[in-house]
Symmetry: C2
Subunit: 440 residues, 2 copies
């Protein structure tokens, strides 16, 4: 067998990632934590070679994918905020909600540490532990191997804690008030098997195999302690968080998320996305620098929509279909004149001006999960929105959308809400440390 040098962490290219890039490059290049993974007999400490910057087994530098250079780079893992929120949206998603199957806090804390170490490696384009073929042959490999030879592909892994987690570990007093249980909204038709979860991990990457590999290996590390409750693949991003990129189209063929918060807009991120010191008290101070995530699986009645006239489609959105310009305007990014739209137009009802300024950072993906039993595509939008306070973000917007004419063509079939802790600061930090450490 051949040892290959570790994939080098490339600097994140976007300005919005500067903070991550700076802190991350050093940590990845010279990890000070040892990789002691918690399953089987295969969890062995990394040797001196790893500590010196060369990892015994990592993805090969040979790249069979025709991806552009930028798409292959690594996004740094360490930072004040978790990556995967303000990070320019990657092309693909694998999102998993987990249920916790242990009530032993020490076991769970060890899992969070193991996951953090794995995430640190995976996002740098390295294999988990000793890799897919570097360990003892009589044990299962530490890494499942299907990402060998693939680039980091801008993989980000973002963890969240669901309301039920706080009950499980007797942390009810540390549950932030902003982490509400979502109310029932008009038109909700939620599938319990696609809703909720004690934990979530959002994996975004430009190569779906890299995102799937990451979730699979985290699930594997968590075997016996956590189990995947539901998961969702997304294949087409539906929002842009880069100000100059063209807004992607959803499966209704419309541009959506034109006025999204860009990852470079520090002021708007601070105002609408990041939990600030003034938002927390002693019990919830661990959330400072974090955010809240609402995930909704929105099924589109594709076949009905496709038989709807262009006029009706444009009225429903309040935009024209080609350019994406608001009603009466010429260009996509022209300021919308809401009163020119029908009262039940989607853009009008979702607009901050209609909702006392409520603004979300959207990071949704299109999905197509084959066909239902009736020959119709099981397709739609997996809506992901980050916000500073769910009560001032998703809740008022979704209440306003009760009157949305779009509701004739969509249905919310899955729902979850998670507290997204702040970023992992350095090689000694781990996901959720401030919440779970006694001394915090």
């Amino acid at each position: 067998m051949t040892d290959t040098p570790s994939e080098r962490t490339e600097q994140a290219e976007h300005a919005g990632q500067a903070e991550h890039a700076e802190q991350g490059a050093g940590a990845v290049g010279a990890p000070s934590r040892r990789s002691v993974l918690g399953w089987g007999g295969a969890g062995l400490a990394l040797g001196a070679a790893a500590a010196g910057g060369a990892v015994a087994v990592a993805r090969s530098d040979d790249d069979p994918q025709p991806a552009a250079a930028g798409a292959g780079a690594a996004v740094a893992f360490h930072g004040a905020h978790q990556a995967g929120i303000a990070t320019p949206v990657q092309d693909r998603l694998h999102f998993a909600a987990f249920d916790v199957r242990t009530d032993d806090r020490a076991v769970f804390v060890q899992l969070l540490k193991d996951w953090t170490e794995a995430a640190r490696r995976l996002t740098a384009g390295q294999a988990v532990g000793e890799g897919a073929y570097g360990g003892p042959v009589e044990a299962p490999p530490d890494d499942t191997g299907e990402a060998l030879g693939l680039k980091p592909s801008r993989l980000t892994l973002t963890i969240g804690f669901g309301p039920s987690l706080f009950e499980k570990f007797d942390l009810a007093d540390r549950r932030p008030e902003a982490l509400i249980d979502l109310p029932k909204f008009a038109g909700d038709n939620l599938d319990r098997d696609r809703s909720g979860g004690d934990l979530c991990v959002q994996a975004c990457a430009d190569d779906p195999q890299v995102a799937v590999h990451a979730i699979r290996n985290l699930a594997r590390i968590g075997f016996g302690k956590v189990v995947i409750r539901w998961s969702q693949l997304g294949f087409g991003k539906t929002s842009s968080t880069t100000p100059d990129a063209q807004t992607p189209r959803n499966l209704m063929g419309f541009k959506d998320g034109t006025r999204n918060i860009a990852g470079t807009e520090t002021d708007r991120l601070k105002k609408f996305v990041w939990v600030g010191e003034t938002d927390t008290d002693d019990d919830s101070a661990w959330m400072t620098g974090g955010s809240y995530l609402v995930a909704r699986r929105i099924r589109m009645n594709i076949e009905t929509w496709d038989r709807t006239s262009l006029q009706e489609q444009e009225d429903v959105f309040g935009r024209d279909k080609g350019e994406g310009a608001p009603v009466g305007r010429a260009k996509e990014r022209d300021e919308p004149f809401l009163k020119a739209m029908k009262p039940d137009a989607h853009v009008r009802l979702a607009h901050p001006d209609t909702n006392a300024g409520a603004t979300l950072l959207r990071r949704g993906y299109s999905f197509t999960d084959g066909t239902d039993g009736l020959g119709r595509l099981d397709a739609g939008l997996f809506f992901l929105a980050y916000q500073r306070d769910v009560r001032k973000g998703f809740v008022p917007v979704q209440r306003s959308l009760a009157a949305d004419s779009l509701n004739e063509y969509i249905q919310h079939v899955g729902s979850a809400v998670f507290a997204i802790p702040p970023g992992v600061r350095d090689a000694d930090d781990w996901w959720g440390r401030a919440l779970f450490s006694e001394e915090a």
Copy 2:
């Protein structure tokens, strides 16, 4: 609204596509057929501008995707063989099996013509008909629009005819003998809802949204005449049909398909893939230049595999995991020494030497369709294999694999077989013409 110039068809870059590229470029640039699509009131002929080479509504040239230049190109639609077989494997798949809901042969023939015209446009990076916003506002748009702004992304659309289609249209005498009903194989656990189909369309592209868009629009054109029976998304190619590319890994972390037939190997394609004149009689002469496709949905018991020792994993495949070299050899492409492998090793049992030379052109994709009810990934390999005669290709190989030690970790849960007619020759030709034309 803004009219955008049509996406220009770029020449396919690979030598194996030369035939397609030559014939395709002219036909796409100056279509001689009119777009008369058969649904609603929206089917209008393309105007003079289209005949002159400028299409009124097509995908914009603005490209929000960070894909490499090569990945955005068009693969020509016209040729002696259908594209999507010898074409270098694209990154993503959307495969759909359809059932026919009409017994009116004229209606079905018109659908094949409409589909052909749509496929000609879609593979060139153009919208269907008058596009997503170019038609009358009181009618549904001809195109659903979600691929606006995306490149052709090497989209190929490949049609196939299932055994049941020949019954439906009283064509039993024209059904080729090589299009057998697959026998039951040891270990089969087939789900009827993921098997069979009167028709199939394989959509491959480097952008999944482009592949999904194509299938969706074909399904829409077929509304009331055909219905999707099942469909499958694939996100990671598992075979290479380019001789110099690194072999991709399947979800077991192993390189698979190392000795696949390359699209440039004219002799092996002729010997193992394309139906020749000597293979057909008067009734089946319409298949000359075609091929046969076997599709199998192979679920992997991922969690069991991941708890298996490296030694066992390597014994099962008969390769090492890192390099992919056959047992006792140093490099992936070294000639395997079959007797050095265990008698039940996968590579040994699948090898042509074990099966009287039987050789398949594989074009499979990995899939992950969320989670089953038990927290396990519903993941595996969507196996697609093209061959000149199923009786001399898939059948002997799969019979040999009854003894495969890999069977402990996989299960075949879906199965279908299709006759793949030859390519569409020019702008006047259409999918299945030789089979359905009276004069053929």
